[in-house]
C-alpha cells in the first residue's frame, strides 16, 4: 500500500473521531452549570442585563442550532468569535497554536537529545551503576512539580546567569528560541523519563535479538550494531509513547505556559473553560483532536518509514 493511500485511510478514520469529539465537548461543557454572560458581567449586572447579553451572544438559541451553526462555519475554517475576547477565534487559536507547537517541538527535541544517549548508556550498562543513576535522576525529574522546576531554572539561568529572559516571547527568531528554551527544558524534563524508559526497555529487548548476534558473528563493530541496527528497531516503541503524549503535552503545558507567560493553547483552554467561552472550547477541542490525530498519524508514518513490516 502506498503511503498516500495509507495516509488517506488514516484521515478518513479520523474524521468521525473528530466529529464525535466536538459533539462530546460541546454537549459536555453545556452540562456544566455556568453562563458566559454571567461570568462576563460578574457581580455588577442585573439578570435582565445578563439576558440581553445572552441574546446578543446567541446563547438563547437551542443547543443543536448552536452546534450546527458552529459546524457549518467550521467547514469554512471560521470558528466564530470568542465570547470574551470579542474577536475571531481563528487568528487567536492560530497564533497560540504556533507557540504551543514550537514549544512542544522544542521540548520533544530536548527530550530526545537527553533521552536517546542516556537510554543507550542505560541499556548497554544494564543494571550497572550508570543505569541506576540515570534512572534515579530521571524519576526525580519526572516527579518534581513543574512550576518548581520552572522557577528553579529561571532563578538559575535568568536571574543569576542572565542567559535567558525570565518570561515572555522574543521577537527575532533567535530571541524567540531563547525565550522558549527554559519552558521547553521544563517540559522536556518531564517528558525525558517517559521516553527514556520506553527506549531503554525496547533497546534491551532488541539487543537480545538474534539479528544482533548475527551481526556480531559477522564481525560488525559494536557502535555500528548499536546505532544502525538496534536503535532503529527500538525507536518505534518510543515513538508510540511520544504520539500518545503529544496531545497531553500541549494541553498540559498550561502550568509552564503560565510561569513563563507564553500564550499557548493550554492556558487558552483553561481560561475558556473557566469563562465558559463555548465557541473557543469547541474550537480548541477540535484543534486538540486534530493535533492528536496528526501526531499519531506522523507516528504511524514514521513506523512505516522505520519498519517495512507495518506498510503491509
Amino acid at each position: 500500500m502506498s503511503l498516500i493511500a495509507f495516509a488517506g485511510r488514516r484521515l478518513a478514520q479520523a474524521i468521525p473521531v473528530l466529529l464525535i469529539i466536538t459533539v462530546a465537548a460541546f454537549s459536555v461543557i453545556h452540562l456544566v452549570p455556568g453562563d458566559p454572560a454571567r461570568v462576563m458581567l460578574g457581580s455588577r449586572a442585573t439578570d435582565e442585563a445578563v439576558q440581553v447579553l445572552r441574546e446578543q451572544l446567541g446563547l438563547d438559541k437551542p443547543l443543536v442550532t448552536q452546534y450546527l451553526d458552529f459546524l457549518k462555519a467550521a467547514m469554512r475554517l471560521d470558528f466564530g468569535d470568542s465570547l470574551f475576547q470579542r474577536t475571531a477565534i481563528g487568528p487567536i487559536v492560530a497564533a497560540r497554536a504556533v507557540h504551543s507547537l514550537a514549544l512542544v517541538a522544542y521540548a520533544v527535541l530536548i527530550s530526545l537529545v537527553i533521552a536517546v544517549p542516556l537510554a543507550l548508556l542505560s541499556a548497554i550498562r544494564r543494571n550497572l551503576l550508570a543505569d541506576h543513576v540515570v534512572r534515579a535522576l530521571t524519576t526525580l525529574a519526572f516527579c518534581m512539580p513543574s512550576f518548581w522546576t520552572a522557577l528553579l531554572l529561571v532563578l538559575l539561568f535568568s536571574i543569576r546567569l542572565k542567559f535567558f529572559p525570565t518570561s515572555g516571547l522574543g521577537d527575532s527568531p533567535l530571541a524567540y528560541l531563547a525565550s522558549l528554551t527554559l519552558p521547553a527544558v521544563s517540559i522536556g524534563l518531564y517528558l525525558t523519563p517517559i521516553l527514556l524508559r520506553s527506549l531503554r526497555a525496547s533497546l534491551i529487548q532488541t539487543l537480545g535479538a538474534e539479528f544482533v548476534e548475527a551481526a556480531r558473528a559477522r564481525g560488525f563493530g559494536e557502535a555500528r550494531i548499536l546505532f544502525k541496527h538496534v536503535l532503529r528497531n527500538s525507536l518505534i516503541a518510543m515513538l508510540t509513547i511520544l504520539g500518545i503524549n503529544v496531545g497531553f503535552l500541549i494541553s498540559g503545558a498550561v502550568i509552564v505556559e503560565n510561569v513563563f507567560s507564553i500564550p499557548g493553547l493550554g492556558s487558552l483552554m483553561v481560561a475558556a473553560i473557566v469563562q465558559r467561552d463555548y465557541p473557543v472550547i469547541v474550537a480548541l477541542t477540535l484543534v486538540f483532536g486534530v493535533v492528536v490525530v496528526a501526531a499519531n498519524f506522523l507516528v504511524d508514518l514514521s513506523y512505516a518509514l522505520l519498519d517495512p513490516r507495518i506498510r503491509q
Binding site: I21, I29, L31, N127, R135, C143, P145, M269, I281
Partner: protein
C-alpha cells in the same frame, strides 16, 4: 566448598558468579527497595492516627511559617499547620488514590483491550476508535464536567482519571493480545473448544498481565501526579484534607520565603515515585526472566 574441578579458571568463575549474584541482586534489591520505600510511606500513613502527630487540619496562626525544627520536622505552613503531620496524613489520600485508580483502570482496560485484540474486526475497530476518542478528548473539560455533576472533591477526580486512563491499558493489552493471538497455547486452547472468555481470561491473561503490571507501577506515580495537578487547579480533595499536590500548590506563593511548604511534600512525591518505579523495574526483570 569443594575444590574446583580441573580445567576451570578460578578467578574467571568467581568473576562470573559474582556478576550473576549482582545481576540477580539488583533486580531483587530494586524490587525490595521499592517495596520498602512504598511500604514505609504507606505504613506511616496508615498508622498516622497512632503516631502522636499534631492535628493535620488544626490551624495555629501564632505558629505560621515556622521553618523545619525539632517541634515541626517539616516546618509549618502559612496557617500554622504541621507540614509533617499533613504529609503523613496526605499519604492516605494519595496512595489510595494512585493505587485504586490504577488498578480499576487496569482491570477495565485489560478486559476491553483483550476483547478488542482477541476478536478483531468490527469490535476491534469500534473499541479502538473509542480509545482514540478518550485519549484525544481534553482531560480538563472532562474533569470539570464530572466535578460539576458530582460536586468538587475526590469523587470527581476518581471518576475522571479512571474514565481516561483505562484507555491506555486497553491499547497496551490489545497490542499484547495481537502479539500472542496466533501463538500455540492460544490456538491449542481454541482447538480444545474452550469458550472465548475462557481463552481470553484464563489462557491469555498471564501473558497480558505482565506488561500491564509493569506499566501500572509508573501509572500509579502518574495518577498521583495527576491528582496533584488537579489540586493545583483547585479541583482535588476538599479542604482541609491534606493532599501532597494541594500542599505543593499551596506553597507556590511562598516559594521564596518559606521553601519548605512545597519542597518537602514535593520530595515525598519524588520518594514515592522512586519507590514505585523501583518496584516496576524489579518486577519487569522478574517477570521478564520467568517468561524467558
Amino acid at each position: 566448598m569443594r575444590p574446583f574441578p580441573p580445567g576451570i579458571e578460578e578467578d574467571a568463575w568467581l568473576r562470573l558468579t559474582k556478576r550473576a549474584r549482582l545481576d540477580r541482586r539488583w533486580a531483587t534489591i530494586s524490587l525490595y527497595a521499592g517495596i520498602a520505600i512504598v511500604a514505609f510511606i504507606a505504613g506511616l500513613s496508615a498508622a498516622a492516627p497512632f503516631l502522636g502527630l499534631k492535628d493535620p487540619t488544626a490551624t495555629d496562626l501564632m505558629n505560621a511559617l515556622q521553618p523545619p525544627s525539632l517541634a515541626f520536622p517539616f516546618g509549618t505552613d502559612d496557617l500554622g499547620r504541621d507540614i509533617f503531620a499533613r504529609v503523613v496524613y496526605a499519604g492516605r489520600v494519595d496512595l489510595v488514590f494512585g493505587i485504586v485508580v490504577t488498578y480499576v483502570s487496569l482491570v477495565i482496560g485489560l478486559s476491553i483491550g483483550a476483547i478488542s485484540g482477541y476478536f478483531g474486526g468490527l469490535i476491534d475497530t469500534v473499541i479502538m476508535r473509542i480509545v482514540d476518542l478518550v485519549i484525544s478528548f481534553p482531560f480538563i473539560i472532562l474533569i470539570l464536567t464530572i466535578a460539576a455533576i458530582v460536586g468538587p472533591g475526590l469523587t470527581g477526580a476518581y471518576i475522571g482519571v479512571i474514565a481516561v486512563s483505562w484507555a491506555l491499558y486497553a491499547r497496551l493489552t490489545r497490542g499484547e493480545m495481537l502479539a500472542i493471538r496466533r501463538r500455540e497455547f492460544i490456538l491449542n486452547a481454541e482447538t480444545l473448544g474452550y469458550s472465548a472468555p475462557r481463552v481470553v481470561f484464563v489462557h491469555a491473561l498471564p501473558n497480558l498481565l505482565r506488561a500491564n503490571l509493569v506499566f501500572s507501577m509508573s501509572d500509579i506515580v502518574l495518577n498521583i501526579l495527576t491528582l496533584a495537578a488537579l489540586s493545583y487547579l483547585g479541583l482535588g480533595v476538599a479542604p482541609p484534607t491534606p493532599e501532597w499536590g494541594e500542599m505543593i500548590a499551596q506553597g507556590q506563593k511562598n516559594l521564596f520565603n518559606a521553601w519548605w511548604i512545597s519542597t518537602l511534600p514535593g520530595l515525598v512525591i519524588v520518594l514515592a515515585g522512586i519507590g514505585f518505579s523501583l518496584i516496576g523495574d524489579g518486577l519487569a526483570d522478574r517477570l521478564d526472566e520467568s517468561g524467558r
